[in-house]
Symmetry: D5
Subunit: 96 residues, 10 copies
Amino acid sequence: MLFHVRMDVQLPPAMPAAQADELKKNERELAQSLQRSGKWRHLWRIAGQYANVSMFDVDSVEELHALLMSLPLFPYMKIEVMPMCRHPSSIHESDA
Amino acid sequence: MLFHVRMDVQLPPAMPAAQADELKKNERELAQSLQRSGKWRHLWRIAGQYANVSMFDVDSVEELHALLMSLPLFPYMKIEVMPMCRHPSSIHESDA
Amino acid sequence: MLFHVRMDVQLPPAMPAAQADELKKNERELAQSLQRSGKWRHLWRIAGQYANVSMFDVDSVEELHALLMSLPLFPYMKIEVMPMCRHPSSIHESDA
Amino acid sequence: MLFHVRMDVQLPPAMPAAQADELKKNERELAQSLQRSGKWRHLWRIAGQYANVSMFDVDSVEELHALLMSLPLFPYMKIEVMPMCRHPSSIHESDA
Amino acid sequence: MLFHVRMDVQLPPAMPAAQADELKKNERELAQSLQRSGKWRHLWRIAGQYANVSMFDVDSVEELHALLMSLPLFPYMKIEVMPMCRHPSSIHESDA
Amino acid sequence: MLFHVRMDVQLPPAMPAAQADELKKNERELAQSLQRSGKWRHLWRIAGQYANVSMFDVDSVEELHALLMSLPLFPYMKIEVMPMCRHPSSIHESDA
Amino acid sequence: MLFHVRMDVQLPPAMPAAQADELKKNERELAQSLQRSGKWRHLWRIAGQYANVSMFDVDSVEELHALLMSLPLFPYMKIEVMPMCRHPSSIHESDA
Amino acid sequence: MLFHVRMDVQLPPAMPAAQADELKKNERELAQSLQRSGKWRHLWRIAGQYANVSMFDVDSVEELHALLMSLPLFPYMKIEVMPMCRHPSSIHESDA
Amino acid sequence: MLFHVRMDVQLPPAMPAAQADELKKNERELAQSLQRSGKWRHLWRIAGQYANVSMFDVDSVEELHALLMSLPLFPYMKIEVMPMCRHPSSIHESDA
Amino acid sequence: MLFHVRMDVQLPPAMPAAQADELKKNERELAQSLQRSGKWRHLWRIAGQYANVSMFDVDSVEELHALLMSLPLFPYMKIEVMPMCRHPSSIHESDA
């Protein structure tokens, strides 16, 4: 089941660099393990923004929510979720 | 080069069904040929909306613009374009 | 799987009354059969608006999309969909 | 009498964890007792957000306001309230 | 029970004057009878706009909704409803 | 002369309780004296919000501005002002 | 008493030129007579828009409303009204 | 050359009173000297807001920008600028 | 003097093709003559939109307004104008 | 390849002047070197705002993103990016 998720990150400017780097490192590790598991199917950077668009492939809405809440950067993110489905004109099996 | 494109279609309710069907058929054919060519890399339907999110992989902004303007439904669509790039945490070669 | 759906209906003022009544009758019949099936779990009217908030309990996003597109009033509705999940503080089994 | 209430929680990132946990514990206890009393009829989590949609069944607007103001998280919440009524197409007695 | 209701009227410019006048006459008569009944407690014109702010004093949300839907201008109005309650600093018994 | 004023209060969460209580006490006293004087004609609480809708009856725009600026909570309020006039369908002499 | 009024005009593209010209002629005549009377104190064109910003000097909100409603273009205008008063730093007597 | 400028001032609540007063004093002095010079042609207070609408009469956009940036309150202001020109229906020479 | 102008064109879908083509031809001719004159300094197409961003170099706001109003597509355009000036970090003489 | 980029800078008022000046100096140096390289083709100041509109000429979206992220003021900027292409009516070779 596919969800389009936009994440806009806003770290407080006053946050110490070390703390920010630690958060980003953990975020990166978790994101990559979720990609390897297939849950986090696509991850793109929006040019010019500290933001990404991702496609998640999960088994339930609960699973999606748990994954997003588990992200180290979650408290600093504005998140928009859109449920997606296969487009009638799509020829990509992988887009289901 | 990747562009995230959201298309919201709004056909005038008074449009004759035959005309609408013809437009949609032509739109479908062009969309599928562009997908086969690799230009239109992803195409998903936003649940509950007559709208889609797509990822285009083109060689230039001009090419993107020409493709979008050539869509039969273009005059009836609100289109938002975001340039995307590979995310530093992405493990998907195919997301470049 | 739960989805919160807001539907704002906007029929063209110039639409003949008979056509509007027919649409509403069909909408009502479909809505009630979907409620009986359990798919359409909750349906409330927003006071003062020709709009409703509904909760759908479906097996997939595709199913949700198909149901919404099948509504006779679909062409005349602005629809917003939010995926919902059980709240950690909820005591209602039926809210899962 | 039914009210649809959306609550978006925004705790200051700098708030000490212990204080936040205490607030959440108290919020949870109050929310569950209000659910048991029937006042708080539905409570769902919006996927990907620290936010919920709830349905309150109260005897007056004053009662609704008092309940919401009494929530420990109230000072940190953006709240939107919509009065709801039974939908003419609803078959659910429990949605009145 | 008090509800703050804002009504913005937008009659199609192409509507024949006679039809518009008939609508306004009926609207006026119903509004005045509802005021006499006490349901429609306050009615003010927003300067420069074909819009009003009203305060309704009704027994239920259903009653409010039925009243608003019964207004001849309802199909041509954008309506916003806010539930209100007595302010702790109010000295006006009549504002309850 | 009537003005519809909406006031949304946003006290900084970090403000000491004593300071906040003092502000609210002073605000309450001034609001009640202005109501007794007839300047502050109506004052209602928006359910679920730390906000109110008020109707002021003043002799000039300057007087309205001075009253609002004199409110202890003014620095912490988002204020929207709409000039109102008697509605042609109003039967309430007191709504002039 | 001063009111800042922004008027955005939107004539239906399908309106016959003669009808539009007649409306504009009448609008112009009324606007100029109101300026001569001192009611319409300032009138500026917003560059690039079929819109203006005006300052009205009237004796009451009712008078303002009546003037605006009497404008031939009123049915085709979006109007925003802001009550203004003398600025404490203003040295212009004429800005009172 | 005329520019309509709206300035909304938002001083941080935590700013010491003395610092705020100093800023306001300097702002007032500069504003009055600019008014005497004719650059700052009109200055009105928006009722109920810590905001003003002004009309500047300058020789270039650069001059406008320099004036606005020189205002002591500039760092604490949200500014909107609209270029204005003489309205074809204006009879006021002074509005050119 | 530089003005940044965004123009979003929205031709009524029902407009006959011949009329639309005629409008576009005239628009094109005027746009090119204004570019040759130096008034219309830059003209870019926003990818995916029937919209452009332009930079105008004119002698007065009146001139800008007259140019924009003279465009054949003016009645079908939403226009936003921003006055621009030389950036302190700019090294381009031609950007003045 | 052209990108229209709007940058709105918002430095925290509490930032020490020296730190702010250092940031601005570094920003200025990088901006000027990028202009000399041709990447940063146009840079204009929006009058009355601490904001600019720029046109970037880059070889890829990745390059654009890297340039923007490298700007010292990046953490304090709200950035909007629009892909642009040559306008069919443009006569400026240099606008390609």
